[in-house]
């Protein structure tokens, strides 16, 4: 640290950091803590203590089926976008051909396109072509949003990969396909897992495309929460949101522990 933390300027920096972290965490803390209050309406800080709203959230089949829908869509999107994304990243890292940087720019371009604009154009597209119905539309839409993340995470890993390893395997008699699965995939596994997890979380949390495209009979969890919040401030909705936050927390801790374990 170049700045003495006890100097006035150092204290100012520390104060801004404390305010910034409080600001970042406060609204997330609120949805976890507010449904613990037993006043019957949402307040922060909560008054009294009850687990009634959390129990009600777990009991409500609407939220559970929304959770399962989101889980299924997230799983399908993570799997499909990882497959096509890793293939594309492999091709981009491996072959040099005219127009390669153009293809790379095309594959990454959904990152800068506002999801809302994509939502309008895909609604228009699906309505006009009548392609697929219901959940299938949302899966396809999420694939467009998630594949660029997979490519962006795996491409640097693939570019760093030492290709002589693959050549050695092929000299020893492996076919290109064998060396892809036996040599390349294990080496770049961490990058693929990171891309896959990112795709899953993006799809699971995503609400804009889901609001435009999810089938009314099978809304995803973020859509259910969005609609419920618009109608009113039920403590049960806050409890569902709180459960999501806790689940994300557990997931993140597990990912860190497993990641650290693998590095060791």
């Amino acid at each position: 640290m170049t700045i003495d933390p006890r100097s006035p300027f150092g204290l100012l920096l520390t104060a801004i950091c404390i305010i910034a972290f409080a600001y970042l965490i406060l609204p997330i803390l609120v949805v976890v803590v507010a449904p613990l209050g037993d006043t019957g309406y949402l307040a922060f800080p909560p008054k009294g203590f009850t687990l009634r709203w959390y129990a009600a959230a777990l009991d409500d089949t609407r939220y559970l089926s929304g959770f399962l829908t989101s889980l299924q869509i997230g799983g399908a999107v993570a799997l499909l976008s990882t497959i096509i994304g890793v293939l594309a990243a492999y091709g981009l890292s491996r072959y040099d051909f005219p127009g390669r940087s153009l293809i790379e720019a095309l594959f990454l371009s959904p990152l800068i396109l506002p999801t809302l604009v994509l939502a309008v154009s895909l609604s228009l597209f699906f309505t006009r072509t009548g392609l697929l119905t219901g959940t299938g539309r949302l899966v396809l839409a999420h694939i467009i949003v998630c594949t660029p993340y997979v490519i962006r995470v795996t491409l640097p890993v693939l570019r760093r990969f030492d290709r002589t390893l693959e050549e050695a395997a092929q000299n020893l008699g492996a076919s290109p396909i064998q060396s892809f699965f036996l040599i390349l995939l294990p080496v770049i596994k961490t990058g693929i897992i990171a891309g896959c997890v990112m795709a899953f979380i993006t799809s699971f949390d995503e609400v804009v495309l889901a609001l435009f495209l999810a089938s009314p009979g099978e809304p995803t969890l973020p859509v259910i929460i969005y609609s419920a919040v618009q109608l009113g401030f039920e403590p049960t909705v806050a409890a569902v949101s709180g459960l999501l936050v806790i689940l994300t927390c557990v997931f993140m801790v597990l990912y860190q522990i497993l990641g650290v374990a693998r590095q060791d």
């Binding site: 640290m1 170049t2 700045i3 100097s7 300027f9 150092g10 920096l13 801004i16 305010i19 910034a20 972290f21 600001y23 970042l24 406060l26 609204p27 997330i28 609120v30 949805v31 307040a43 922060f44 293939l87 594309a88 091709g91 072959y95 293809i103 095309l106 594959f107 396109l113 506002p114 999801t115 809302l116 604009v117 309008v120 154009s121 228009l124 597209f125 396809l140 839409a141 467009i144 594949t147 000299n171 008699g173 290109p176 699971f204 995503e206 609400v207 609001l211 435009f212 973020p222 929460i225 969005y226 919040v229 618009q230 401030f233 806050a238 949101s241 936050v245 994300t248 997931f251 993140m252």
Partner: protein, 293 residues
């Protein structure tokens, strides 16, 4: 070459010919992108530019001729500017402190910064709604501090949307700037200070100057995400603090006015594309200044 090498080449000749493999590798991604990305985007543009089967600017004239939409665009840009300023004021110090911290604490704080990104924007906006509601803690605290003398209504106001959206986007600013500050050698600050500059002056003259194009890039990123964000303005702002994003949703889902919704979406897209070109230029400048240094 050994016998096994010859064997490998023979095996290779037996499989699909080399030119076919790259095509097969790119095919899934290319097909998905052409059908679900390029085609819909093109049809969005044509939908906004046609009226009753004829090329026409009528939808754009409707947008430009109506004061309501000018106000909408102005409010959206104001939202973008305010959110960018808040994330800068908080993000620059936080990113700097995290980049200069040596302990394990820095890694922990970085995880804490990333965590909100994993929680859906819907959930985070909901948290703000609880805080903003009449007699919410924000209003009560401000009253207790004597900063306002009546219950402050932040729900369904642009101010509320700004506060909530800045929180949603702050992690992206911090993560972008963290990388920038990490790449600046702290010895440069020591050098400036040993030549007599006070720490704040050394930071302004050396670190912030070197980080300039990174800061510009982070600001453009946050700005373009802020003007196209939907969930937070939709929930915290509602119909009373309408912005471009919520208007586009209204035109698509409630009015089913596809041509006009496409027009609004195209206007938004033009702004975002212009900003991302500037973003690319800022990153280029940064790469160049680094290669010179």
């Amino acid at each position: 070459m050994t016998a096994t090498g010859d064997l490998a080449r023979q095996k290779g000749r037996g499989g699909p010919s080399p030119a076919v493999i790259p095509v097969l590798i790119f095919a899934p991604c290319l097909i998905v992108y052409l059908v679900l990305f390029v085609w819909p985007q093109l049809s969005l543009l044509t939908t906004s530019a046609f009226d009753k089967g004829q090329l026409s600017g009528v939808h754009y004239v409707r947008f430009l001729g109506d004061e309501y939409y000018w106000e909408l665009l102005g409010r959206t840009l104001l939202l973008g500017v305010c959110v960018t300023l808040i994330t800068l004021v908080l993000g620059v110090p936080v990113a700097y402190v995290l980049a200069r911290m040596q302990s394990r604490m820095a890694a922990l704080l970085l995880i804490l910064t990333t965590f909100p990104l994993l929680v859906s924007a819907v959930v985070r906006s909901f948290g703000w709604m609880v805080l903003f509601f009449r007699d919410g803690i924000v209003s009560n605290t401000l009253q207790a501090l004597g900063l306002v003398d009546h219950p402050l209504q932040l729900m369904y106001t642009l101010t509320g949307v700004i506060i909530a959206l800045a929180q949603v986007l702050l992690p992206l600013m911090v993560l972008t700037l963290h990388g920038v500050f990490k790449s600046i050698d702290p010895d440069l600050e020591f050098a400036a200070m040993s030549l007599g500059a006070s720490p704040p002056l050394a930071l302004c003259l050396v670190t912030l100057r070197l980080a300039r194009s990174g800061i510009v890039a982070g600001s453009l990123l946050v700005f373009s995400l802020a003007i196209s964000a939907f969930a937070t303005p939709g929930l915290v702002g509602g119909a009373r603090a309408n912005v471009m994003a919520t208007a586009i949703y209204e035109q698509t889902i409630e009015m089913l006015d596809w041509p006009f919704a496409s027009t609004l979406a195209t206007v938004l897209l033009v702004f975002v594309l212009a900003l991302s070109l500037l973003y690319g230029a800022a990153l280029d400048r940064r790469a160049k200044s680094e290669s010179v240094a």
